[in-house]
């Protein structure tokens, strides 16, 4: 059984970085001083990812204000709107407002990726919004229908993938919780599949992972199973693993095995047991394990503690221990 591990969203900022960014807002420190702390924090997270033996690295995406901002602030057609609750959490994003069909600006997204990832793009996990979540959560004043917009965003994301593939990035995660929170059907489902097809066409042998959370994924499996991607991730904090239906020789299965809504640690033996059970029942080609919801729902210290599970669960699986 092949099991790969990696972070699936932003890592929390350290208490030092929290204090520094607050000080910056209050004019008590300089952008240069905060930048130096960001760079140091990214190195620390890369070192943590190395220690945990993760297959993909992220450097924490510490500077990203929210999932959409790197695109909403660089692609043409957007302004950034009001604070809006991020699913059922006490965190918020600024809702992008789309005034006209969006236009990608070459190079702009790449410039926003954590600098620390550019040194090892082959192992980096590029995290982007999925087209369905992006289209569903923005304020669409462009006149385009939601289905057309999903497809268009898929094509634009595909262009980003093509550009990043050109400089060596190989693994792309599309965070698409809206797929399970509001499963698409009819023309919208077709638009989602078409959007991901456009992304897949640009992958050129790379890996694409769709990551979901926020609701039970079972009702959305009809569309998730149709996505032309390398792996689909579901959050086991929201999806009962025993209800995931049987399958045969499907794509990789992503499992959110860390729940950042609690500081309580997960049991690696229990996770290993779940993975083995799903291997028998679902028969995926491999597994991707990671946090379900974004890990920055936790403060830095508990996140650092809980993420150790990714190593211990893999050790439990490698060691053949039983729960």
């Amino acid at each position: 059984m092949r099991v790969r591990t990696g972070l699936t969203g932003p890592f929390p900022r350290s208490e030092t970085l929290v204090a520094a960014t607050r000080d910056l807002d209050r004019g008590r420190t300089t952008p240069e001083a905060v930048e130096a702390l960001y760079a140091a924090a990214e190195r620390e997270i890369l070192a943590l990812e190395e220690r945990l033996g993760l297959d993909t690295i992220t450097a924490g995406y510490l500077r990203w204000a929210d999932l959409f901002r790197p695109l909403a602030e660089t692609w043409e057609g957007f302004t950034v709107g009001p604070l809006t609750r991020w699913f059922e959490t006490n965190t918020f994003y600024r809702q992008p407002i789309l005034h006209a069909p969006p236009v990608r600006v070459p190079g702009a997204l790449a410039a926003r990726l954590p600098a620390a990832l550019r040194g090892d793009p082959a192992r980096a996990r590029v995290i982007l919004p999925g087209p369905y979540t992006f289209a569903g959560l923005l304020d669409n004043r462009s006149g385009e229908t939601e289905s057309a917009l999903v497809h268009r965003l898929g094509r634009l994301l595909g262009e980003e993938v093509r550009e990043l593939r050109g400089v060596g990035f190989a693994t792309f995660q599309f965070t698409d919780p809206w797929l399970v929170v509001r499963p698409p059907d009819g023309p919208r489902a077709e638009a989602v599949v078409a959007g991901y097809r456009a992304i897949q066409a640009a992958l050129d042998g790379g890996t694409s992972i769709v990551w979901t959370y926020g609701a039970d994924a079972i009702p959305a499996l009809g569309v998730l199973d149709r996505l032309p991607v390398s792996a689909v991730g579901v959050d086991l904090a929201d999806t009962d693993p025993e209800r995931i239906p049987e399958g045969r020789d499907g794509p990789s299965l992503g499992l959110g095995v860390i729940d950042p809504r609690t500081t309580l640690g997960e049991d690696p033996m229990e996770v290993a047991h779940l993975v083995r059970a799903l291997e028998k029942r679902r028969r995926p080609s491999s597994f991707w394990l990671g946090p379900g919801m974004p890990l920055d729902l936790l403060p830095y210290e508990p996140a650092t503690r809980k993420v150790q599970l990714l190593r211990s669960a893999r050790e439990a699986l490698d060691g053949g221990g039983s729960a």
Binding site: P12, R13, E15, V18, T21, R22, L24, D25, A65, D66, L83, R85, E88, T89, N90, T91, F92, Y93, R94, D216, L236, A237, D238, T239, D240, P241, D259, R261, T262, T263, L264, E266, E270, L274, D296, L297, L298, P299, Y300, E301, P302
Partner: protein, 381 residues
């Protein structure tokens, strides 16, 4: 106290702290701006009263000598007069002694460990604790704060307190979740959250409410801003509310804001001792969208409780005109079918606005209520 007719007005939450309070309680001498603001406020409201020597010491640059607690007393007096001046019937102290609504209550309890800061958005963070043992109250809180208000308020005092559901939702649930067997999925998480909410309500909030009532508190607003975060947990909000108020005799209101109220109904209606729903409406009211129309739903359910009607958008500096306020009141009264059930208030605390803007809004609110009252009492023929 102003005589209460139709559409009495009330405060709903915290206000921005004046610069003289912030500097003064840090023991720093007031700068020119802060001194000017303190002088102007006292000239307008005459609030210092028995604390005039403390006011004078602050103006003389002797903040350290005054001490943080006395500065807060002075600020509480300021806010009482600030809210009473426009003619509000129910007031509090602008939450002058509070800096937030989560950390302070949690620090009055055993069983929690603070974990660090979580980013809310951009570079804004909040401190979050985990419940690691059974909740136990160290001592009832807000009581001295209320006693000061009761002693000095001229209008009817109303105390706001964070509700059990919100305290639980804003904490990590370790202790109660660990007691659940097996994989900690949705079912286990919900069962653990229920235990946590009810424990908080019974062991911490209820004894605090009882102490407040014993101190003379008659009107208590239980704040549940987290209620809208997980609409499918509205029954837990209710269970917490009912457990917290069980057997207590006071006028309880529940404040929820920035939520889709339809999603919380009808579950919320089971909050038996809640006499008033204090909700936000103005924020969502525009020419394109009727923010008050949701009141029809309450009528459809036959709910006859009072409404604390949010008529001021707390996120915009633009001051509502009295006519706009009156129109909103009239519309809400029509949806409810009973104007006598309406209290008038801002959507939420006005602390995101300057004190000047907040004051202008409150004045417009009271004037708007008077217009609406006049329209009902002397309708045009």
């Amino acid at each position: 106290m102003t005589a209460r007719g139709l559409f009495p007005a009330q405060e709903i939450g915290s206000l921005a702290k004046p610069r003289w309070q912030l500097l003064g309680q840090r023991g720093e001498p007031l700068d020119e701006q802060a001194r000017g603001e303190l002088r102007a406020a006292d000239a307008r409201l005459g609030f210092a009263g028995e604390l005039a020597p403390a006011r004078d010491a602050l103006l003389d640059g002797r903040s350290r000598e005054v001490g943080a607690e006395t500065v807060r007393d002075l600020a509480a007096l300021f806010f009482l007069r600030y809210l009473e001046a426009p003619g509000l019937h129910r007031v509090y102290d602008g939450e002058a002694r509070r800096i937030e609504m989560y950390e302070y209550p949690i620090r009055q309890m055993h069983g929690f460990e603070f974990q660090g800061h979580v980013r809310s958005f951009d570079s804004k963070y909040y401190l979050k604790a985990a419940v690691t043992e059974e909740v136990r109250l160290e001592r009832p809180y807000h009581v001295e704060e209320f006693e000061f208000v009761r002693t000095h308020a001229r209008a009817e005092p109303k105390l706001p307190i964070t509700g059990p559901y919100t305290l639980a939702d804003w904490s990590y649930n370790e202790h109660y979740l660990a007691r659940q067997r097996g994989w900690k999925g949705r079912t286990a998480r919900r069962a653990a959250q229920r235990e946590f909410v009810v424990d908080l309500a019974r062991r911490a909030i209820r004894p605090t409410l009882a102490a407040l009532i014993a101190a003379g508190c008659r009107v208590i607003q239980i704040d549940e801003p987290a209620a809208g975060t997980h609409p499918d947990e509205a029954d837990l909000v209710v269970e917490g509310f009912n457990a917290a108020t069980d057997g207590l005799d006071a006028e309880f209101t529940m404040h929820i804001c920035f939520s889709n109220y339809r999603d919380l109904l009808p579950a919320l209606l089971e909050a038996k001792r809640c006499r008033q729903w204090a909700w936000e409406f103005a924020n969502r009211d525009s020419p394109e969208h009727d923010g008050y129309e949701v009141l029809r739903v309450l009528r459809e359910y036959g709910d006859t409780r009072e409404i604390g009607l949010g008529v001021l958008d707390v996120h915009r500096d633009a001051v509502e005109t009295p006519e706009r306020v009156a129109e909103r009141i009239g519309r809400a009264a029509k949806y409810l079918g009973d104007p006598g059930r309406l209290w008038i208030n801002p959507d939420c605390g006005l602390r995101t606005r300057t004190l000047e803007v907040a004051r202008a809004k409150l004045e417009a609110m009271v004037q708007g209520a008077a217009l609406a009252r006049a329209a009902i009492e002397s309708p045009r023929r």
